[in-house]
């Protein structure tokens, strides 16, 4: 886990620990620190992880690299994502810089994944996208086990408001900047509310500068902080729709699920990855090219036909309830 970062994966894992305890199991959560200077530290981190002793446990559930390198006869993988920088992000602006060291890191991570992942008793992933990548890059078959949403029953629809809500960790991969840029092009009275922690100070500065330079302060609210679940539920309940437009995200994202449980349509992008598993074009959300003008058009359409937005939200709610993603089913699979 990345130090000082509390994202969807961290919330899910902690929720799993609580759910396991509530189901009568003793569960401990361990976090293997993933250092920021990983070019130098990667080999040590992998070796150290492999040497950790977990003999006293009947089952070990691993989620991310390098934690899934631990050795245990009853290890189960519930993969959220691999070290993406050496897989699908390789060669893009989000990948490792092209260098000899990066090439070596790529070789090592591929070799470790090919060796350690198949040692698992079961290999689950949290999304079809992750399973597809695991097969494409490592020829490892897996089964999709979508993560249940924490406190799904808390989400509700209060009203169809006048703002798009984007509650997520704020960083370049989540692409909140595209939504902000889209607000420059919107013609309706729609607003945008972004909320989440932002570990990239430069990214936040650029977004705020864009807002100021284009005079859209009255349209855009950026809450650069971790908001409580209660606050998030409240803001979502009164929104027009939710936005979730990451770049090639593995899973549909908790934002998508939260929006659907709150009966809100979801605005996403055609290259956002796992959201395609939950959102249907024109039915309970919209897929848009990752372009500010296209996003602005989609946002305006929803604002101008709030009845349509409301119907889409209701269909999204119905869809996610039919999927029956519960902790009971999930734990049964993880402990099989």
């Amino acid at each position: 886990m990345t130090p000082y970062v509390q994202g969807g994966a961290e919330i899910l894992v902690d929720d799993l620990r609580i759910q396991l305890k509530e189901n009568g199991h003793m569960a401990h959560l361990y976090r293997i620190p993933f250092p920021d200077n990983y070019e130098a530290a990667l080999m040590n981190t992998i070796a150290a992880t492999r040497m950790l002793r977990l003999d006293g446990y009947d089952r070990v559930i691993a989620f991310k690299f390098p934690a899934y390198c631990v050795e245990h006869p009853n290890k189960v993988m519930w993969m959220f994502h691999q070290f993406r920088q050496v897989y699908e992000l390789d060669g893009t602006e989000y990948g490792l810089p092209q260098s000899g060291v990066a090439k070596r890191i790529k070789e090592v991570v591929h070799a470790v994944d090919n060796a350690d992942i198949p040692k698992s008793r079961h290999v689950y992933t949290n999304a079809q996208e992750v399973s597809n990548r695991l097969m494409k890059y490592n020829s490892i078959p897996s089964e999709v086990l979508p993560p249940p949403l924490k406190n799904a029953e808390h989400y509700y629809c209060d009203s169809t408001g006048d703002y798009i809500f984007y509650p997520s960790r704020i960083n370049s991969l989540k692409r909140q900047h595209l939504m902000v840029q889209a607000m420059k092009h919107t013609k309706s009275g729609v607003k945008l509310v972004i909320a989440g922690q932002c570990p990239e100070a430069g990214y936040m500065r650029e977004m705020r500068a864009f807002v100021a330079e284009n005079g859209i302060e009255d349209k855009v609210t950026i809450m650069d902080e971790w908001i409580s679940d209660e606050r998030k539920v409240e803001l979502l309940s009164k929104s027009l729709a939710a936005a979730y437009i990451p770049y090639k995200e593995d899973s549909c994202g908790f934002v998508t699920m939260e929006a659907q449980y709150a009966s809100k349509p979801v605005i996403t992008c055609i290259d956002s990855g796992g959201t395609v598993e939950f959102v249907r074009q024109g039915v309970d959300g919209c897929f848009v090219a990752p372009d500010p003008k296209d996003l602005a058009a989609a946002i305006d359409r929803l604002y101008e036909d709030k009845q349509m937005a409301q119907r889409m939200g209701e269909l999204g709610r119905q869809s996610i309830e039919e999927k029956n993603i519960t902790w009971e089913n999930t734990i049964r699979r993880l402990l099989a």
Binding site: M1, P3, Y4, M26, H28, L29, Y30, R31, I32, P33, F34, P35, D36, N37, Y38, A41, N44, T45, A47, A48, T49, R50, M51, L52, R53, L54, D55, G56, Y57
Partner: protein, 335 residues
């Protein structure tokens, strides 16, 4: 300022390191600093110690933390230029329990491991920015074995509103995590020497089911089923109303169970043994009884404690030696 805290969580062991790590993290978050907490797995098998030491030594936490706080062993093997260490004990199986029923035997294999660990631990303790121990006994151990300097810290304890009025027909209590050195068998054997209606409650939080079963069998064989019961939890506030004396007889411990201080603060005597290590840092003649580690002596001690008069001045914290309150320590680390 960014602070990273790390502790280990050996299964079925007292969670004191983890609880302290949580406390430290919460303290810094409360005063507005960015603090993150990691738990790492470790087991108590000495044969695995070299590998675990190597694993922790190689674990990288990156450059984002300004301060790194390690609680317990082997967490303090993680490298960081600004490392502060808190210890409640230091591999007792290799030191104070060496070649006893509570530690490892002095075989060739274990002797080699001990030699390796001695060198590795010594290097680490000399490289840390500051070192804090949970007892004066541990501080002295570290000074004598490794020549390293440490300070003693004291956890804050909530002061009870008033002393509990002791009554003769209340029970004896003992809190244990079923560690071998807690000597629960000795406690049961001692209680078997006491006739009459006195009862004993064993508080056994987070205990392994097999340990519970073994102890229950021992209680049954001693014919004590009617008078000794087990509760799978820690002593709660309401329990103190039903307790007259606390029994704490660990072998050469360097870490005092919280229940000892809780009992003394409530004006309740503690029965311990003359080889109970750091527990003796808290006992005084007027508030406790320290006897030889034999069943009949402990039984006499329990009966003697029942006769002790009401403590006029319950223990209000501190030992004979100088200690620093934990909050003062934590404040000092970030100045």
């Amino acid at each position: 300022m960014k602070i990273m805290v790390c502790a280990v969580r050996p299964d079925f062991s007292p969670p004191r390191e983890w609880e302290l790590a949580e406390y430290i993290t919460a303290y810094y978050q409360k005063i507005g600093l960015e603090a993150d907490l990691f738990a790492l797995p470790a087991n108590n098998d000495i044969l695995d110690m070299p590998e675990q030491v190597a694993a922790f030594r190689m674990m990288e936490i990156g450059s984002t933390a300004d301060i790194f706080i390690a609680v317990g062993c082997p967490a303090f093997f993680i490298q960081h230029p600004n490392k502060h260490v808190f210890l409640f004990q230091l591999l007792p199986e290799l030191f104070e329990y060496w070649n006893t029923p509570y530690g490892v035997p002095a075989t060739y294999q274990y002797t080699k491991i001990k030699d390796m660990v001695n060198v590795a631990v010594g290097r680490q303790l000399h490289s840390v920015k500051s070192l804090f121990c949970g007892s004066n006994l541990l501080k002295e151990d570290i000074r004598k074995r490794f020549g390293a300097k440490a300070e003693v810290f004291r956890r804050e304890q909530e002061k009870p509103e008033e002393s509990i009025k002791r009554e003769k027909n209340r029970a004896i209590a003992m809190q244990t995590w079923f560690m071998p050195e807690d000597r629960i068998e000795l406690a049961v054997d001692a209680f078997a020497h006491i006739t009459g209606r006195l009862e004993m409650t064993l508080f056994v939080p987070d205990a392994h089911p097999l340990d519970c079963r073994a102890t229950q069998t021992r209680i049954e064989k001693a014919g004590l089923c009617e008078r000794v019961r087990m509760e799978s939890r820690t002593i709660a506030e309401g329990d103190w109303q039903t307790i007259s004396t606390l029994l704490s007889i660990p072998y050469e411990t360097r870490s005092v169970d919280r229940s000892v201080k809780d009992a003394l603060q409530r004006g309740m005597p503690v029965v311990t043994t003359q080889d109970s290590g750091a527990v003796l840092e808290y006992v005084r003649a007027q508030n406790s009884v320290a006897v030889k580690p034999e069943a009949c002596e402990i039984a006499d001690g329990i009966l003697h404690a029942a006769q002790l008069k009401e403590l006029k001045k319950p223990w209000r914290g501190g030992t004979l030696e100088k200690e620093r309150a934990i909050n003062s320590v934590l404040e000092g680390l970030v100045k």
